[in-house]
């Protein structure tokens, strides 16, 4: 009995100690990781104006490569599009939409296309001997969303300042961000896979088709899973009914 108590006491203390040690090690690691990520996020401003060198270094230079920085940029893009939608000036806002906003869906519409593009592009590029890994494509695409983030953030104060006769300025900035970002997603892809432009265009078309297929399959699986789960739920309720009888 005593032994067992002792043993359990020891293990408990040990767990606590391990946890403490773990935290001790973990927290500085986390801090260090955050610092590096933030530092490497800054590299995007080099990419914005030097895309060829920028994307090449992003992939090949271990001091610049950072998937976590890309993820942060992607999250910031989603948040900026949400912020833009909700804090838009009256003249440019979609009021009914603002009232009925679904935040998860809105964030998903920003994030999902990038994820889908990365997966689909990785699938095709491995068939068409591209050099990039999935993480490379994803990271490059995430970094390429930054023009859209910037233009979203510029659009917010502008929408409060411009009148509807000057709406063309507003839409120009919006489309500039979109064209810039889509162009960089494409550029990032061909630089990472070491493709020629023609091969890149072909892969991009295939990738978009692949995105559609993936979306279709995902919806199919989703509905099937829903039916399967519904089936088991029904069995469960049936059993509960029978037991209660």
């Amino acid at each position: 009995m005593e032994k067992a108590e002792k043993k359990s006491g020891v293990t408990f203390a040990k767990i606590l100690a391990d946890l403490g040690n773990g935290l001790k090690g973990f927290l500085p690691k986390l801090w260090q990781g955050t610092k590096t990520t933030v530092k490497r996020m800054g590299y995007v401003f080099y990419i914005l104006f030097h895309p060829f060198d920028g994307f090449f270094d992003l992939k090949n230079d271990p001091k610049r490569r950072s998937v976590s920085a890309g993820v942060v940029w992607l999250v910031l893009f989603a948040l900026s599009s949400l912020l833009r939608y909700q804090t838009m000036g009256y003249l440019f806002a979609d009021r009914a939409g603002q009232l009925n906003l679904n935040i998860p869906v809105h964030l998903m519409t920003a994030v999902l296309p990038i994820i889908l593009w990365s997966i689909s592009n990785w699938c095709f590029s491995s068939l068409m001997d591209g050099d990039g890994k999935l993480s490379d494509v994803f990271m490059a695409s995430c970094f390429a969303t930054v023009p859209m983030t910037i233009c979203n953030l510029i659009q917010i104060p502008l929408s409060h300042f411009l009148s509807s006769t000057e709406a063309s300025t507003f839409t120009f900035i919006g489309s500039l961000g979109v064209v810039w970002a889509y162009g960089y997603i494409f550029l990032g892809m061909i630089i990472i896979h070491q493709y020629s432009v023609a091969k890149g265009i072909g892969t991009a078309v295939l990738t978009i088709v692949g995105m559609a297929v993936i979306a279709f399959v995902a919806i199919l699986v989703f509905f099937l899973l829903q039916q399967v789960s519904g089936f088991f739920m029904e069995i469960g309720t049936e059993i509960i009914f029978r037991l209660n009888e």
Partner: protein, 569 residues
């Protein structure tokens, strides 16, 4: 003891009344209640609104002809108000009833008198026509009586134009039934010699031409000169063929084409004319494309069930409202619930027009811009509700609605709410801005959801602001900017972005002028600062060039670089 008994009695009575009250009020659900009036808010959702019209009188056949009973046949297929008389066309008894201002019968036209030409022979010549209109024709095809007339129009000089539909003619007579003119056998080269002229609704425009809708003719409105000459068809409803249908038709065989529904323009259901000669035709049977477009609140003229045609047939109707003028915005769920506009009447002075939807039994009034102003009616047996509304006419405050289902003509009178809206709208359109503010505020006190009132207030405030120069103030001590600031609030409430933008620009210009020096000073400082900073950076860069990994020096070993410490970007 007695007192406590009374107390108990009082308490129990109170409790009982409370219980009864809750029970009874829970039964009083507002189903099919005509007084459950509504209007649309700025988002197109229906919101409670004050009652727009009250029932003044319900005229049935006994009121007109005391010898008959309430169950007697009576089909008021069209009505017309003119010169202080209400003309009711009874297409079942082939009569015209004329009522005076007090809705007392004055005269009845049951037969026609005078020198009348023989009926067109086409119908009488066909012996096997007995299954259709022939059966009635055999007994009633008599040139001295009407035969299923479907349209009536009375001019300012008292001439009564009756579309004698089954007799294939238009009769012009006076109140005594004395015929002055008959329009029949209209020669129309476009349709060939063998068409049947079955006029229904008609109006006379300000040049004296007859504008006639004919059964089975979908080329638009038939124009007939006062001399009885065919002039033209005009304003044929557009045919909308979807792209898919067009492609499909190219590949279909002759047999398949024959089986397909022929794509023909729909017929007009009714029409009205205003004092400037514009014709307002309506369409009752909408095609599938139009139904879909209207359901999505399209304001395209192609799908519009109400039009305003100028002399050359172009559509001039302004559609600035939440939807194209079509009646209810939110339709009942299910198939074939689209509005069925069966009649229209125009108010000449203001340009307002009222349309009648027989599917919902409601009538809707729009202003000249196409904004819905108020609505009333409903389906049912109650007073002020209709079963099969067939025709409508307006006379100032009064609206007359003929209902062939309940065999009545209902006289409705506008409430103070409607008066307030009309007066305010007239003040706005006449440019009486200061007056219109008070009037629109009165409308808002009746119905705070009335976004038209906010638009009117905003417009008035903006005009008042435009009238003031620089820092000039009006009698209330307000300058132009104060008025713009007020206008912006009203336009915001009404979601009026175009005018909002104008007022906003005026306010913004003022702010910009105020802070011009500051803004441009700041920009100047930023530019100078940037240049200074870039020069400083160049100096620093010259001192210490960072190694950068480039495609141009691709052969550089990656691993070695990674090992260097403190080399991070």
């Amino acid at each position: 003891m007695k007192q406590s008994f009374i107390k108990t009695l009082a308490v129990s009575a109170l409790a009982l009344s409370l219980i009864l009250g809750t029970v009874l009020s829970s039964f009083a659900l507002p189903i099919n209640n005509v007084n459950d009036s509504y209007f649309y808010d700025v988002n197109g959702n229906d919101a409670s609104a004050p009652l727009a019209f009250t029932v003044e009188r319900v005229i049935n056949i006994v009121d007109i002809d005391p010898t008959k009973t309430l169950t007697s046949a009576f089909t008021p297929s069209d009505i017309c108000y003119a010169n202080g008389y209400l003309y009711i066309l009874d297409s079942l008894n082939n009569r015209v009833y004329i009522l005076d201002e007090q809705y007392q019968p004055v005269k009845t036209i049951s037969g026609l008198i005078g020198d009348i030409p023989d009926l067109p022979k086409t119908q009488a010549d066909i012996p096997e026509g007995e299954e259709g209109s022939g059966s009635a024709g055999n007994t009633q095809s008599n040139k001295y009586s009407l035969n299923k007339p479907k349209g009536i129009y009375v001019t300012a000089d008292g001439s009564i134009y009756i579309s004698d539909t089954s007799n294939q003619r238009i009769v012009v007579c006076n109140m005594d039934g004395i015929v002055s003119r008959v329009y029949q056998e209209i020669k129309c080269s476009v349709l060939g010699p063998k068409y049947t002229f079955n006029p229904t609704r008609l109006v006379i425009d300000n040049t004296g031409d007859l504008q006639v809708i004919c059964e089975g003719i979908n080329r638009g409105i038939m124009q007939i000169t006062s001399d009885g000459e065919f002039r033209a068809f005009f304003g044929a409803p557009d045919v909308v063929i979807s792209l898919w249908e067009r492609v499909w038709r190219n590949f279909a065989t002759e047999e398949q084409l024959a089986q397909m529904i022929a794509v023909t323009p729909t017929e007009y259901s009714s029409l009205a004319v205003d004092s400037r000669g514009f014709i307002y035709p309506t369409i009752a049977a909408l095609d599938e494309a139009a139904v879909q477009a209207l359901k999505n609140l399209s304001i395209s003229a192609t799908y519009a069930p109400v039009k305003k045609l100028s002399a050359d047939g172009t559509d001039m109707l302004r559609r600035k409202g939440l939807s194209s003028p079509m009646g209810d915005l939110n339709w009942a769920p299910g198939k074939d619930t689209y509005p069925t506009i069966v009649d229209i009447a125009v108010d000449n002075e203001s340009g307002r027009y009222t349309i009648l939807d027989s599917r919902t039994g409601r009538f809707f009034t729009y202003d000249a811009d196409g904004n819905m102003l108020y609505l009333c009616g409903g389906l049912g047996m109650a007073q002020g509700a209709f079963q099969t509304a067939s025709a409508l006419d307006i006379n100032g405050d009064y609206v007359y609605v003929a209902d062939t289902g309940s065999k009545t003509v209902t006289v409705l009178r506008a409430t103070d709410y409607v008066h307030a809206i009309n007066e305010a709208a007239e003040a706005t359109s006449n440019g009486l801005w200061t007056e219109s503010i008070g009037l629109w505020e009165e409308v808002l006190s009746y119905n705070s959801n009335m976004y038209i009132a906010n638009i009117g207030l905003g417009k008035a405030e903006m005009r008042l602001a435009m009238a003031l120069i620089d820092d000039q103030t009006d009698e209330n001590g307000l300058n132009a900017l104060d008025h713009y600031a007020k206008a912006i609030v009203y336009f915001d409430r009404a979601s009026e972005k175009t005018n909002y933008s104008v007022a906003f620009t005026a306010l913004r210009t003022n702010e910009l002028e105020k802070y011009f020096g500051l803004i441009f000073g700041a920009i100047g400082v930023l530019i100078v600062g940037y240049f200074v900073l870039s020069i400083v950076r160049k100096q620093q860069k010259k001192k210490k060039m960072k190694p950068v990994f480039r495609p141009s020096d691709r052969e550089a070993p990656v691993i070695n670089r990674a090992k260097k410490k403190g080399d991070e970007e």
